[in-house]
């Protein structure tokens, strides 16, 4: 968070409000939404903008998340820039439509307030909802604070709507810890955003002048080719992401690191990799341990899809141990992020640093600075040869039962 002075407006707002401001600045033409905690205040704010004539946009109050994604797809396939937001059960309820949207190449941007998935029913944050949507063909980006949330919405449209990409983006914010936390946020000028993000123009739409059918049936003879297009589009996106972040920095004076952001990794021997709000807290722990002379570093995995395989492999090749924090567990295996990171590390040179998977922060359980410090110390010991479980649930409370 850079305290910028060159920009017009600073406000003390929640990350959900920051998302709403980001969306407003991108001038979507159609929004459809269904409320769910902790996403709700985003769509409330957008409704306010529209009712106050601060924003010209068609707003549909739709009856379910499945219909939400169907409605924004309907608008997108008519050539409109669209937005929606959801969370948790709602995201799962629209799962079918996520595939329709990505498969038919509509560059919808959606905010997901990360919240765990029932049962047990719970409204608090972890990444089990969005990670369950890993293979839906959407790009996924996890942000660290309100400023990054606002900025990432703007970047997301730029990325999604690139003609070589035309792939939807899910911007993920940790429920409550980010969505309902107020911070100082720079709200860019409309003119600055307009200069960065041109209006949405696409050939991939229903057009009376050039009638065609979208989202059609493809038989086995052609399905693979359409899937290959999606695969290529995501690869293209991966190439573009760092450049879009740089271009954003040139316009707005802020950067968030593209695919990943490294923190004090230059000479690091022990690094933690994580997504979302815990990255912020981890920075403090890195600073503290660095003061002790420990060579620790931190990697923010900003994009989960496309996955920053080479970037992580490059870091992995230089360090002794890598810890991965997952606010998720893939039952029967390990954390979803960990599995991907580990595969990336092995792929680099056939060797791999010592790795540990920390399962933490499930359904809103706080990840404390003490937890994070413990993770680093375990990594250091593991690198020195001490036995450590590969998959560790942080802060289990069995003893209190």
């Amino acid at each position: 968070m850079v305290k910028s002075t060159g920009l017009k407006r600073r406000d003390f707002i929640s990350a959900n409000d920051a998302v709403a401001y980001g969306v407003k600045l991108c001038r979507p033409e159609v929004i459809a939404a269904y409320p769910i905690t902790p996403q709700t205040t985003v769509v409330e704010k957008l409704s306010e903008f529209i009712e106050n004539k601060e924003m010209a946009c068609e707003y549909l109050n739709v009856e379910s998340e499945h219909s939400v994604m169907s409605a924004v797809m309907g608008a997108s396939l008519m050539g409109c820039r669209t937005f929606t937001a959801t969370s948790s059960q709602g995201l799962l309820y629209m799962c079918e439509m996520l595939h329709y949207v990505s498969g038919s190449r509509f560059p919808i941007v959606m905010m997901n307030a990360n919240r765990t998935v029932a049962a047990p029913w719970n409204i608090f944050g972890d990444h089990r909802d969005s990670l369950a949507m890993r293979d839906s063909g959407w790009m996924q980006v996890y942000v660290e604070n309100g400023q990054e949330a606002l900025d990432t919405i703007i970047q997301a449209y730029k990325l999604a709507e690139n003609p070589k990409v035309l792939t939807p983006v899910m911007v993920c914010l940790d429920g409550f810890v980010l969505t309902h936390t107020y911070e100082l946020v720079d709200i860019p000028d409309q003119s600055a955003v307009d200069a960065f993000l041109p209006p949405f123009v696409t050939e991939n739409k229903l057009d009376l002048a050039k009638p065609k059918s979208l989202c059609i049936t493809a038989p086995p003879e052609w399905q693979t080719e359409f899937r290959y297009q999606q695969y290529e589009a995501m690869k293209e996106a991966k190439k573009l992401i760092p450049g879009i972040d740089k271009e954003f920095a040139a316009h707005f004076g802020r950067s968030h690191g593209g695919l990943i952001e490294e923190y004090r990794c230059e000479d690091a021997e022990y690094v933690l990799m994580a997504m979302g709000s815990v990255v912020g807290t981890s920075r403090l722990v890195v600073d503290k341990l660095r003061e002790e002379g420990l060579k620790v570093g931190l990697v923010k995995v900003r994009f989960y899809r496309p996955f920053p395989k080479e970037e992580l492999a490059s870091i992995g090749s230089k360090v002794k141990a890598v810890g991965v924090i997952d606010r998720d567990i893939s039952f029967g295996y390990e954390g979803a992020l960990y599995a991907d990171v580990k595969a990336a590390l092995y792929n680099s040179q056939g060797t791999c640093p010592r790795t540990i998977n920390f399962i933490a922060g499930l359904s809103g359980r706080d990840i404390t600075k003490e937890n994070l410090e413990m993770m680093y110390r375990k990594l250091i010991k593991a690198a020195q040869g001490q036995a450590e479980e590969e998959i560790q649930f942080v802060g289990l409370r069995w003893e209190q039962w």
Binding site: G103, S104, R105, L166, E203, N204, P211, K212, S213, L214, C215, I216, T217, A218, W222, E225, F226, Q229
Partner: protein, 85 residues
């Protein structure tokens, strides 16, 4: 390939003629051009031509509906391969 699964509208790659066992044949003299067959044909293959209505045999599936519904019995179903009535 198009970008994404899309297709230009109205593109047909395969005729339906092979579906038929019987084909409808219009008797132009009996036909009153009431348009009932034209209206009801599921495949829209009847053309309101002048002086006679015609059938697009590339896409007629031979369902027989036109012959059955013709109020003046101006359409007969003829087995494919047999000579026209």
């Amino acid at each position: 390939m198009p970008l994404g699964p899309s297709a230009v509208a109205g593109v047909l790659v395969e005729a339906n003629a092979g579906w038929r066992t019987f084909r409808p044949v219009i008797n132009g003299e009996k036909c009153t051009r009431c348009q009932r067959c034209w209206l009801l044909c599921p495949d829209g293959v009847i053309e309101r031509g002048e002086p006679y209505f015609q059938i697009d045999y590339n896409f007629c599936k031979g369902c027989g509906l036109c012959a059955y519904e013709c109020p003046v019995k101006a359409i007969t179903m003829v087995k494919e391969g047999d000579s026209n009535g």
